[in-house]
């Protein structure tokens, strides 16, 4: 479909727009509640456009964007149409935040200071659909990988500017942020710390393990069943499994306790995450080493390269792209799993999330979850970029 689409009809674009229209009409963009603990009354996009903002907000802008989308659906397949779709999607995301923030400000002026304007299902759906629009359009532009990453990153810039200039400050999620801004930054840092202390040992232990598994079939046949078994244990169960032995160790050997090894906190969390991420890293490293062509290794030996030289100059560079895939999976998985470690007192963004869950404050949950998603997407992008750079010349 990507090539030879001369008709100019774009079914993906059409579907997303139909879904978007449906979401805008059926799902509330906002929920306005008298305080943070009740669920609130729905406010739809149409209401926002008609009533509170009718004369202030140029409704024509929305009409223009809808019309432009319709034109793009049936329009030509020229490149500028795709650029236009990316631009409109970016503008649309910023507009949504701006609309929601504007309404929240109006509520804050008229209602009690406890009143909360929360982002509704409609808002999140429309943001997600806009993002899909961008992905599709960028895909159709068929540009190089790095340009694609830069373009996708710049799509969120208008939205970030709107938030940065304070237009969304009266929204519930931003109020939660304002309340927690002191702990938010440290929670993000803590989260990254958990991920790093799990991934760095994974790489340090995993790569030698992979090397051993690659060289010796026996190691392989013992290691992989064990790592697979670990993957099947639910994360909370695994944390629990470590708590007792670690607590015992800390009690028996005070040195360990002073070094931060305790039954709760970072130690059991990192240990579990380490074990979880070991499988993707080891498996991909072994797969990477195994796919190095035998002829290349024979030729290297035949030309008088030593085993060490062959390993570092031939096998490792050729295995690296596959290894990076596994490492990427491990890092993204660990960023997500690290949220659960809050349950054993490791802290991080998970603690915000669980605090919100236990107190029924949905916006606080989001304050924990959204940065986790962003971190995972960023990590994913960084690894993809790294693979693209590595592959660049030899692809």
């Amino acid at each position: 479909m990507r090539d030879g689409n001369d008709v100019g009809f774009n079914p993906v674009l059409a579907l997303i727009n139909v879904l978007g229209l449906g979401a805008a009409m059926a799902l509330p963009l906002l929920r306005v509640a008298p305080n943070r603990l009740v669920s609130g009354d729905p406010v739809y996009l149409a209401e926002l456009l008609q009533t509170s903002l009718g004369d202030l907000f140029p409704g024509g802008w929305v009409v223009f964007m809808v019309a432009a989308m319709a034109a793009a659906i049936f329009g030509s397949t020229r490149r500028w149409v795709h650029w236009g779709v990316v631009g409109i999607a970016a503008a649309w995301m910023a507009t949504l935040v701006w609309l929601a923030g504007y309404h929240a400000s109006a509520i804050a002026l008229t209602e009690s200071p406890l009143a909360r304007t929360a982002l509704g299902a409609g808002f999140w759906t429309l943001i997600a659909l806009s993002w899909l629009l961008c992905l599709d359009a960028v895909d159709r532009l068929q540009i190089g990988f790095l340009s694609r990453m830069v373009l996708l990153a710049s799509v969120v810039v208008p939205m970030a500017i709107v938030v940065g200039r304070g237009y969304g400050d009266e929204l519930s999620i931003m109020k939660e942020y304002a309340n927690r801004s002191d702990v938010f930054a440290s929670a993000v840092l803590r989260h990254l710390q958990i991920v790093a202390t799990a991934i760095v040992p994974t790489v340090l232990v995993g790569l030698p393990l992979a090397w051993a598994a690659y060289r010796h079939a026996r190691v392989r046949s013992l290691l992989f069943p064990f790592l697979n078994l670990v993957q099947t244990i639910p994360s909370i169960a695994l944390f629990g499994l470590f708590m007792a032995p670690l607590a015992w160790m800390a009690a028996s050997y005070p040195v360990l306790g002073r070094a931060g090894i305790r039954g709760v906190g970072l130690a059991p969390a990192v240990l579990a995450l380490f074990l979880y991420s070991l499988l993707p890293v080891v498996r991909s490293a072994v797969a990477g080493l195994q796919q190095v062509p035998g002829a290349v290794k024979t030729a290297a030996r035949g030309m008088g390269m030593g085993a060490v030289t062959i390993f570092w100059r031939v096998e490792v560079p050729l295995a690296l792209p596959v290894l990076l895939l596994g490492l990427r999976a491990a890092v993204v998985q660990t960023i997500g799993l690290a949220a659960v470690t809050a349950l054993v007192g490791a802290g991080g963004l998970g603690s915000l999330m669980f605090e919100g869950l236990f107190s029924g404050a949905n916006e606080l949950v989001l304050l924990g979850v959204v940065p986790i998603v962003v971190l995972a997407v960023l990590a994913d992008g960084v690894f993809k970029a790294l693979s693209a750079v590595l592959k660049g010349p030899a692809a």
């Binding site: 030729a299 008088g304 560079p317």
Partner: protein
């Protein structure tokens, strides 16, 4: 240069090479030929110690190969294999420079050598230096593979079915290039193949192997005119043995000064008898004109003479 002395090598009790004795002199182009499982690749890999033999001895320049450091030994022997084995993550230049770099040559000397080798194989250095293997055709990859084997100017070149994966046209072109390289450099070449035509074209000495044993050693002419037994005769291709023999003979000794018919087709004096017969059959004539290097018709050949042994030369 290389000498096998009653060398054997077994895998799981089966002898892949069985009591091989063979002397390869400096500058010879030796082709090891035989069906699958005849032990030809095993024999080749014993020379550069990719495999270790169980009994007997192998000498390189008069000394036991085990008296050399294994890496030094391999770096003194170029090695090229069928699936090329080029390093996919390195440019053509770096691939060719592999052994010189291992030997610690200076940058400028390596650059010069790469240029020289690419030129030798008719690949423009300006274009191909910085290419990656996947950007080359099969024939070009194989040329780079051979260039890489020649890079450090080794005295011996070991080649394991280097042209096996190529199409017939490319293979023929590369075979001729290989012949030219051998004649120009005087290197000792040991090549493994199962293609009898390749062996007859390239070899100064053909070694026919069957189940790890030498069946016959001889020049292409000896092989064709006096096959040692039925196995060799079958392997050469019993039915067209005579035709193959014709391709080893030059047309020159058969040329008489008697003029051919003015409208008769003509061939170059450097052609083989096989080409002359082919030309006669295609044109439906029994007499051909013969051109000298200037393209002038200087004589003729008769169909009846061509199948007889040469009168002189």
């Amino acid at each position: 240069m290389i000498e096998f002395q009653n060398t054997s090598k077994s895998y799981d009790g089966i002898k892949a090479v069985d009591g091989l004795s063979l002397t390869i002199a400096r500058g010879e182009f030796v082709v090891l030929i035989g069906p699958s499982g005849s032990g030809k690749t095993t024999a080749l890999q014993l020379i550069n110690r990719l495999l270790d033999h169980d009994s007997g001895r192998i000498l390189f320049e008069g000394k036991e190969i085990y008296s050399f450091n294994v890496r030094d030994l391999r770096r003194r022997m170029g090695y090229a294999i069928q699936s090329v084995g080029l390093f996919p993550h390195w440019t053509v230049e770096r691939n060719i420079a592999t052994v010189p770099q291992l030997l610690g040559w200076e940058r400028s000397r390596i650059d010069q050598r790469v240029t020289e080798l690419l030129t030798l194989f008719a690949m423009d250095p300006a274009i191909f230096r910085t290419r990656y293997p996947h950007q080359l055709s099969g024939g070009q990859q194989q040329r780079v593979g051979v260039a890489r084997a020649l890079a450090a100017d080794p005295a011996v070149l070991l080649m394991d079915e280097p042209f096996g994966a190529l199409d017939p046209v490319t293979r023929a072109a590369l075979q001729l290039e290989m012949k030219r390289v051998h004649e120009g450099s005087g290197k000792t070449i040991v090549l493994v193949t199962h293609d009898i035509d390749e062996a007859l074209l390239l070899a100064s000495k053909v070694v026919v192997l069957d189940r790890g044993r030498v069946v016959q050693v001889g020049s292409p002419l000896e092989l064709l005119s006096k096959p040692a037994n039925d196995f060799v005769a079958d392997f050469i291709g019993r039915a067209d043995r005579g035709i193959k023999l014709l391709s080893l003979r030059a047309v020159e000794p058969y040329v008489s000064s008697a003029p051919a018919a003015p409208d008769a087709p003509s061939i170059a004096i450097t052609a083989t008898v096989r080409e002359a017969v082919s030309c006669m059959a295609a044109a439906g004539v029994a007499v051909l004109g013969v051109r000298n290097s200037d393209g002038r018709v200087v004589g003729s050949v008769q169909a009846a003479d061509l199948v007889l042994p040469a009168r002189h030369g």
